[in-house]
């Protein structure tokens, strides 16, 4: 049985209590996207401000939800701030791949052959996979980021 210490790691609780990049950005120039989890009511708002070179100059997140959705949003914002859209998409892919590894894969050697999992703070969220119900909490902000980046890529 997975213990709570796999889920509520200190770094996750730190991001939960002291969320990075919390707030709003002016739209425009920033793009805003809202993500909802209809099952549990979590709501995430992501603002991205992208410069002419396609770099995420600034990012802010808002909304409300559990420690997993909120800390994941905080980590997401820290991970993609200052990155190009391409880099942000690659990080998102890596994170979502980490979230899609079956629980049994975590314990086996196969986990080592998966795509790059050395994701800094983000790897603290790996334990979420052991609590399948909470995976949607962890990926909500990332899907909302994709939405915001998609909106940004669209010609206005």
């Amino acid at each position: 049985m997975a213990g709570l210490e796999d889920l509520y790691k200190e770094i996750i609780l730190d991001h939960y209590r002291n969320p990075r990049n919390k707030g709003e950005l002016e739209t425009p120039p920033a793009h805003k996207a809202e993500g909802f989890n209809p099952l549990c009511g979590d709501e995430i708002v992501v603002y991205v401000d992208i410069d002419d070179d396609g770099v995420i100059q600034d990012i802010a997140t808002g909304g409300q939800g559990c420690s997993i959705s909120q800390s994941s949003a905080s980590m997401m914002s820290a991970a993609v701030k200052g990155k190009s859209i391409e880099e942000a998409l690659a990080i998102t892919d890596g994170f979502k791949a980490m979230m899609s590894i079956h629980e049994s894969g975590l314990e086996s050697e196969k986990a080592d052959t998966k795509p790059d999992l050395s994701m800094g703070d983000l790897s603290a969220l790996k334990g979420v996979v052991k609590f399948p119900v909470r995976i949607k909490c962890a990926v909500l902000s990332w899907n909302t980021l994709l939405q915001a980046l998609g909106d940004a890529a669209r010609p206005s």
């Binding site: 009511g41 709501e43 939800g65 420690s67």
Partner: protein, 412 residues
């Protein structure tokens, strides 16, 4: 005489289950109740002994199956004080019952600008079917507000229901536990010529129910919250109302005659029961109401009031201002549904922590998002009790809540 809860608990096979060597503390009956052996046995016996389609064959099995179904219908009618068994219409669940009512009665009685009055504490099942008619017909929705203590604010009731065609109110809130003054609202609705519908999903399982005393014209409720199986619900309506309503689903069983040119509808209740019904589930629900009757609904209610009082007292004594219990403060004015907020721990995190101790509660918006918006919260952690819960379950809940401090470092 008060109930022997230990003996009742023993009637529910699942409640003796252990997970990771520890007992199960089931406090999520407002979502779905557990089932006594009597219900499981009745369904098993039906399939092993009498399974056949109903209302059709002349052979012995078919007659037995039909008798079992109609026997259950009669038991359920008796259980809710319905004057006639044919007023009990079987549906998939309470949601389908509400949709049946909205699509059948609503589409044939409402048109653009007509008013339907709801309350801010409704479940989505009593909101979305009406939103669908707002979109389809252009009806207007009005909302009875709630007070800070989670009760209906009826100050402006007369103004709100003025000119209304329908008033639809939950008999008991699935979030706040509030027991609403259905009789008073029904009388007011009737005084302005409106039809009164109630959502009895949380009420019927827990309180003695008499639809005539409630004064309503129709009521929806579901089997799985009242010790019965999933997949079976009920719409009760007065004969007069149901006979005037057009059919909802078309198909077998609901017709009197079909030709290439059209059809005529069957009598109640068959008019609203197209296709082969959930026979085993109906039999199971019949067994559930007989089980509840054997305990006595007065005794069930008495136990739950006393347990709710114990829970509110225990949680308040142990956690003081760190813990908020939403809804009415007086146990006699509410059901055993306790929506909790503890410190700043999010309800999902709370339910995860409680799960470590096999304490099963529900975290989320409870399909009542407009209410969450009024309350200014995104979610609540809800512990809900039934006749098989006891004071020890409440103590386990309190211990588990306390353990959240260790995880979130909020101790001291």
């Amino acid at each position: 005489m008060s109930l022997d809860i230990a003996q009742i608990k023993a009637d529910f096979p699942l409640l003796s289950r252990e997970i990771n060597g520890k007992p199960l503390i089931y406090l999520d009956s407002a979502s779905s109740s557990q089932k006594p052996a009597a219900v499981l046995d009745a369904m098993d016996h039906y399939y092993r002994h009498s399974n056949a389609n109903v209302n059709r064959g002349a052979y012995q099995l078919a007659v037995e199956a039909t008798d079992a179904l109609e026997g259950a219908r009669a038991a359920i009618a008796r259980f809710i004080g319905a004057p006639n068994a044919h007023e009990v219409i079987f549906t998939k669940n309470a949601t389908e019952a509400m949709n049946l009512f909205a699509q059948s009665w609503g589409r044939s009685n409402l048109s653009e600008g007509d008013v339907v009055v709801l309350t801010e504490m409704e479940h989505h099942a009593n909101i979305v079917p009406w939103h669908m008619l707002v979109q389809a017909l252009g009806i207007e929705l009005r909302w009875i507000p709630i007070t800070d203590s989670g009760e209906l604010d009826l100050t402006d009731l007369d103004r709100l229901i003025d000119g209304a065609k329908l008033v639809s109110v939950t008999a008991m809130s699935n979030v706040l536990g509030t027991l609403n003054p259905i009789r008073r609202i029904a009388d007011a609705a009737h005084a302005v010529g409106a039809v009164m519908l109630t959502d009895g999903s949380q009420y019927v399982p827990h309180l003695p129910t008499d639809v005539t005393e409630l004064g309503v014209d129709a009521m929806a409720f579901t089997g799985h919250k009242m010790l019965g199986p999933t997949g079976i619900g009920v719409l009760w309506g007065t004969t007069e109302l149901l006979e005037a309503m057009p059919p909802f689903l078309g198909g077998g069983d609901m017709i009197m005659q079909v030709t290439k040119d059209g059809f005529t509808t069957n009598d109640l209740p068959h008019k609203f029961e197209a296709g082969t019904p959930a026979i085993a589930e109906i039999v199971g629900l019949g067994a559930a109401v007989e089980y509840l009757e054997s305990l006595g609904m007065e005794q069930v209610r008495e136990h739950e009031v006393s347990l709710t009082a114990y829970a509110m007292r225990t949680l308040t004594e142990r956690f003081g201002e760190d813990l908020t219990i939403h809804g009415p403060a007086e146990p006699a004015g509410r059901g055993g549904v306790l929506s909790l907020a503890y410190k700043d721990i999010h309800p999902h995190d709370m339910s995860q922590v409680l799960d470590q101790r096999n304490v099963c509660i529900r975290a989320g918006h409870h399909c009542a998002k407009p209410l969450m918006q009024v309350m200014g919260v995104g979610a609540t952690a809800r512990a809900s009790m039934y006749v098989y819960n006891d004071e020890q379950d409440v103590d386990s809940l309190a211990d588990a809540i306390e353990s959240a401090d260790d995880i979130f470092g909020l101790g001291g």
